[in-house]
Symmetry: C2
Subunit: 347 residues, 2 copies
């Protein structure tokens, strides 16, 4: 019988500290009865958290790490000085293959830098990307890159398309995901060289395991026009945070509009069940976590401000990815795409 | 006495046709009792629209233009063949100074190309930008560029900062607008070379007529963290459309959440006044129009799908901009910014 799936966790990342991580673990062991966990962090802080949860320790191994990466630390510094941090050790467990996946709520830039350094990128992939699950009218879509890089070439956008497609097949259960490249218009002539070049490569590879739909615009993300939205990390990060801000602004306006009148307050009271359902739908904790794709190992970044519910979602995502074999799919699918000659790409 | 302010209008742009434009004019003449209008378009189509509004013709001059720019036409083609179009003629009235401002609901790319060709850019400005008014928790902010260009250098981002600041002072009535550059993080080390270079130039020009606040992130737009948000046209266009899509998705979720339960439906019925107020707040018609900044003349683009209310808002904006002398302010403010030596900028 194969070894049980093991999840390696950075217990010291995130704004809330290890208490949230242990509370998330208490949920996760129930949801995933055959999964084991390795918890990297300060033993003196971690042990007391298990005082009333001694049974958890049957499934959770604590590994002492004396240091931690600070949330505001520069990734380059963290990388240089970080061998004794809980974050480094969490990734190291994946590198040494004692765990299949690593999860951290810590500093995103440092986590990406350490993951790149320790795990490297997959065959055929030049740079990793961070993918986000985005709630849409039709369900959810995968958007990437949302912040691993500040630029992307045409070939890198093609990598992102493959990574997003493989993820969508494995995690969203889609047989042949639809893929679009984010642009300022849907016409072929619009956009910068990178998006035009990537679209050209994908259009000229007819036997893809995805349905390439050309360009999509910002409003198509929320509509759910395609399952996978491909963009560079600068634009994707700004689009993601703009959407989060807009959702907050709209619910702020909704609250003011309702509280402004007696009828509004009455209506809000009567409809409070429905309004709470809306809040849950928009709750970032439910689809929490940035997924690092393109690395030779599964690493999931939980939101820094996540509570136990949010961190548990990130653990779910990591476990699902390991079980679905997302990495093997990415490698196989990337091999199937032929790079076009520069002359052809420029035509 | 100075000549009355005159607005030149492309009557044939937009999806809805000239009927909407004439209905908007009927509103606008009441709001602006001393303004005159020149309406460029197909006389045979326009004249019948005034049959029941003959009095309007005291203030509106109809100028025949035999052709029109199609909504899907390539800007380069429109520019080559377009001298007899209503759009070209509308801009020409500004060039010949018989009108102060031009308004069109037509093809954005063609309108920008023709405006650039006929009016040129202002002294010190290398490229124009399209600005949008964005509803925020604190009121509204100016975001630019939202689509005139697909790239922007550091110097061009500085131009945009000046243009947005001058616009905010003139139209939003702010004495010293706060300005931020959109980025993937607020730390100085983050982002691409263009945003870092622009921030460096603005930080090293202490006597600006704006309060430069460094970098802001996507969620800061809806928060209203700064009055003016500066970005390249690729990112800005995607952020704007992502926000529009998100607002639609959230109200879609709200509607489903309310209709899902009897209490929800009752609450929605009782709160319908408040919910309608929310809809008006989010209605893109109320802050309709993309403002072209950096041209040697005022041109306002109304939304292609605008109705009479939307087109009338675009006319309001154009008239306000002419009265406030936005162009003169941009020229004066741009002169006040010294370009840094490349060595200094790279440090």
């Amino acid at each position: 019988m194969a070894r049980e799936l093991t999840v390696s966790i950075d217990a010291m990342g995130g704004d809330a500290g290890p208490g949230v991580v242990v509370a998330a673990l208490a949920r996760s062991v129930l949801r995933h009865p055959s999964v084991k966990f390795i918890l990297h962090g300060d033993e003196a802080e971690l042990k007391p958290l298990f005082a009333k949860r001694a049974k958890l320790l049957d499934r959770v191994a604590i590994r002492h790490a004396a240091e931690r990466v600070r949330m505001e630390e520069k990734p380059s510094l963290a990388l240089r000085r970080g061998r004794n941090t809980s974050m480094w050790r969490a990734i190291d467990s994946v590198k040494t293959k004692e765990a299949e996946v690593a999860v951290s709520a810590g500093n995103t830039g440092a986590l990406m830098a350490m993951s790149m350094f320790q795990l490297g990128t997959l065959e055929g992939i030049s740079r990793p990307a961070i993918a986000a699950l985005w709630p849409t009218k039709r369900g959810q879509s995968v958007v990437l890159d949302v912040g691993a890089n500040v630029t992307a070439s045409d070939e890198q956008l093609v990598d992102f398309a493959v990574m997003g497609e493989a993820f969508a097949r494995a995690i969203l259960g889609l047989e042949r995901p639809t893929v679009g490249i984010l642009n300022v218009g849907s016409e072929e002539v619009k956009g910068n060289d990178a998006v035009k070049g990537a679209a050209h490569i994908l259009r000229n590879n007819p036997s893809l395991p995805m349905e390439f739909c050309g360009f999509v615009e910002g409003n198509d993300i929320g509509e759910g026009t395609v399952d996978v939205v491909v963009t560079d990390g600068f634009t994707g990060n700004i689009a993601l945070k703009t959407a989060e801000g807009t959702a907050k602004t709209v619910t702020h306006f909704l609250r003011s509009a309702l509280l402004h009148s007696l009828f509004g307050r009455m209506g809000a009271y009567i409809a409070s069940g429905a309004l709470n359902a809306l809040r849950r739908k928009l709750d970032p904790r439910a689809s929490n976590g940035g997924i690092f794709l393109g690395l030779d190992g599964v690493v999931v970044k939980s939101h820094g401000g996540a509570d136990a519910l949010g961190f548990a979602s990130a653990l779910d995502m990591a476990i699902d990815m390991a079980k679905a074999g997302v990495i093997a799919r990415i490698v196989a699918d990337r091999r199937g795409i032929k790079t076009l000659e520069p002359e052809a790409a420029a035509s």
